[in-house]
């Protein structure tokens, strides 16, 4: 049975209130086509897990889809703060559950390895740990026999992981080409379900002829949604880079609420299809070189 589906159907399978982990890192390899579709479908009360994030979180916050963000970092790097995320956290409209990069990775690893916690030195000595004192989600401990300090990172259940990759076959075998460099595997391994958007669907032979280059086995991928340039405006190494122009225009629009409403409608959620979205942003839909 083919796992190939559409962006619309893949997004429709994400229920309101779900814990959704978003792949990519900062301006790289985020599953923007899937994220856009979640915003178009006006999901509600999502809890986002985004280790190091930017535009994807900002779109979903702008779309009113988010209850809480679990993250180590949300920004547009040197191009500025993520404007809607910033405003929503400052006003209290969206809650933030504060982590660092590795604390969140270790919670995901505890989940995927089915262990009560994963230890790390991450976060020791910072104020991040104190924020989790009540929940105990991450807690500072001392190893009895050695006296070493560590942080115990407890399991983090994830309903759905969304990742972007280069190619998959209809059985769900998936490849990040030439190899995975970000930490998408951490969310895939922790999540109950994973949806992968892909630049292209290929024959199974593309994997069986080079099995050493497969990133995710088919039993880890539940749905495959074709989306050429599916990370735009983020990068998808080595096929295309991030579009600084989009980030800048988006940030400028966000200075005024009415301007931003128009921008967000016309250039993000308004276009009916992913191809229409790319056209609205003057992005070539041709196959990447």
């Amino acid at each position: 049975m083919s796992k190939v589906t559409t962006l619309e159907e893949a997004a429709a399978s994400v229920p309101d209130g779900a814990t959704v982990a978003i792949g990519g890192l900062s301006m790289n390899s985020a599953p923007m086509a899937l994220v856009r579709e979640l915003a178009r479908q006006q999901k509600k009360d999502l809890e986002l897990v985004a280790i190091v994030a930017g535009m994807a979180v900002d779109w979903l916050v702008a779309g009113g889809c988010v209850r809480r963000v679990l993250s180590g970092l949300v920004s547009f790097e040197g191009l500025g703060l993520a404007p809607n995320f910033r405003a929503a956290v400052q006003s209290g409209r969206v809650a933030i559950e504060e982590y660092s990069e590795h604390l969140l990775i270790c919670r995901l690893q505890a989940q995927s390895h089915n262990l009560p916690f994963m230890p790390t030195r991450a976060g020791l000595g910072t104020d991040v740990l104190g924020l989790h004192a009540a929940s105990g989600a991450v807690r500072e401990e001392k190893d009895g026999p050695t006296g070493e300090h560590y942080v115990a990172c407890t399991r983090l259940p994830v309903d759905v992981a969304l990742v972007h990759a280069h190619e998959a076959d209809e059985r769900g075998t998936t490849r990040v080409n030439p190899k995975l460099v970000w930490m998408d595997n951490e969310i895939v391994n922790a999540a109950a379900r994973t949806v992968a958007s892909v630049e292209r669907v290929v024959d199974t032979e593309a994997f069986t002829s080079q099995p050493e280059r497969t990133t995710y086995p088919r039993f880890m991928i539940d749905a495959v949604a074709p989306a050429p340039r599916g990370s735009y405006p983020c990068s998808c190494f080595p096929d295309y880079g991030h579009d600084s122009g989009f980030f800048t225009a988006y940030s400028q629009a966000a200075r005024d609420p009415e301007t931003f409403r128009r921008f967000f409608h016309e250039q993000v959620v308004g276009p009916d299809t992913w191809d229409d979205f790319l056209a609205a942003n003057d992005v070539s839909t041709g196959a990447p070189a």
Binding site: Q90, A122, G241
Partner: protein
């Protein structure tokens, strides 16, 4: 913005990059995070001059990268040209970091305190922040893991250099003294390179101490621009060393021909 350094044939971004470069050595094994143009210039320059064996993983991914130019992101693949390996974040990077195979990391914050701790999370109270900043990202992790920590700031003023952080996102020398040692953390911050001066850390208290003044800057000016009392060395404070013509030439023409380093100013 690129302010000329009086008497030196360079601008302040160049003086900072060269000063950073000179702090690196042949056994430096470094990587970088977001918005880290000065350190990236420093690593590349050091490797081209006095530290040819220096290891640098661009974006913490691309080992031995030698990009033709530095783009607008220090986390993106535009920085990965001519790398010898694209390592992987979870499998490779965190092991190299936590195991101190990588030994050098540089970070900055919206606020920094006397012991080299940094805040990049919130300005104001955490529960009702005046400004929500990006978050600590990897600095909360790496501050506890990496033995040679370098800090830098292109905005040396009392809003940045504060007595008390609104939030400690990244661990420097912590509460000072032997705090890191007690926590089992290796090394600690070595230098803080700013647009006014260079700080090192007083060995006992682990508080910032004036190590050198950039040309034209006085110790009084630095104290005025700093929200905590700075420690002074015994004897005179030297002037930050002059970059050589060769260093400036390599920085301008080979390492960073598009002046990406000025994105931080």
């Amino acid at each position: 913005m690129s302010t000329p350094v009086p008497g030196y044939d360079c601008t302040i971004d160049e003086l900072m990059a060269v000063t950073f470069s000179r702090a690196m050595s042949n056994d430096t094994r470094a990587f970088n995070g977001a918005v880290s143009f000065i350190p990236v210039c420093g690593y590349l320059l050091a490797r081209r001059t006095h530290a040819p064996e220096l290891v640098w993983a661009a974006s913490s991914i691309a080992v031995d990268a030698d990009p033709e130019e530095i783009g607008d992101s220090t986390l993106s693949d535009s920085l990965w040209g001519r790398a010898s390996m694209l390592s992987n974040s979870p499998f490779d990077f965190w092991s190299y970091a936590q195991g101190a195979r990588y030994n050098t990391f540089a970070f900055r914050g919206a606020q920094m305190d006397a012991c080299g701790n940094v805040n990049n999370t919130v300005i104001g109270p955490y529960e009702s922040p005046k400004v929500r900043l990006p978050g600590g990202g990897g600095m909360a992790d790496l501050g506890a893991m990496i033995p040679r920590i370098y800090l830098w700031s292109s905005t040396h003023d009392p809003r940045t250099f504060v007595e008390r952080l609104d939030f400690r996102s990244g661990m420097g020398w912590g509460d000072g003294g032997d705090h890191r040692e007690r926590m089992g953390m290796p090394g600690g911050p070595r230098l803080c390179i700013t647009n006014l001066c260079v700080f090192d850390f007083e060995p006992a208290s682990k508080r910032m101490r004036l190590a050198s003044l950039h040309p034209g800057v006085t110790a009084d000016q630095v104290q005025e621009a700093t929200g905590f009392e700075i420690a002074m060395p015994d004897g005179d404070v030297p002037i930050t060393a002059r970059p050589t013509a060769e260093e400036l030439h390599i920085l301008r023409t080979e390492v960073d021909p598009t002046s990406a380093r000025r994105r931080e100013f």
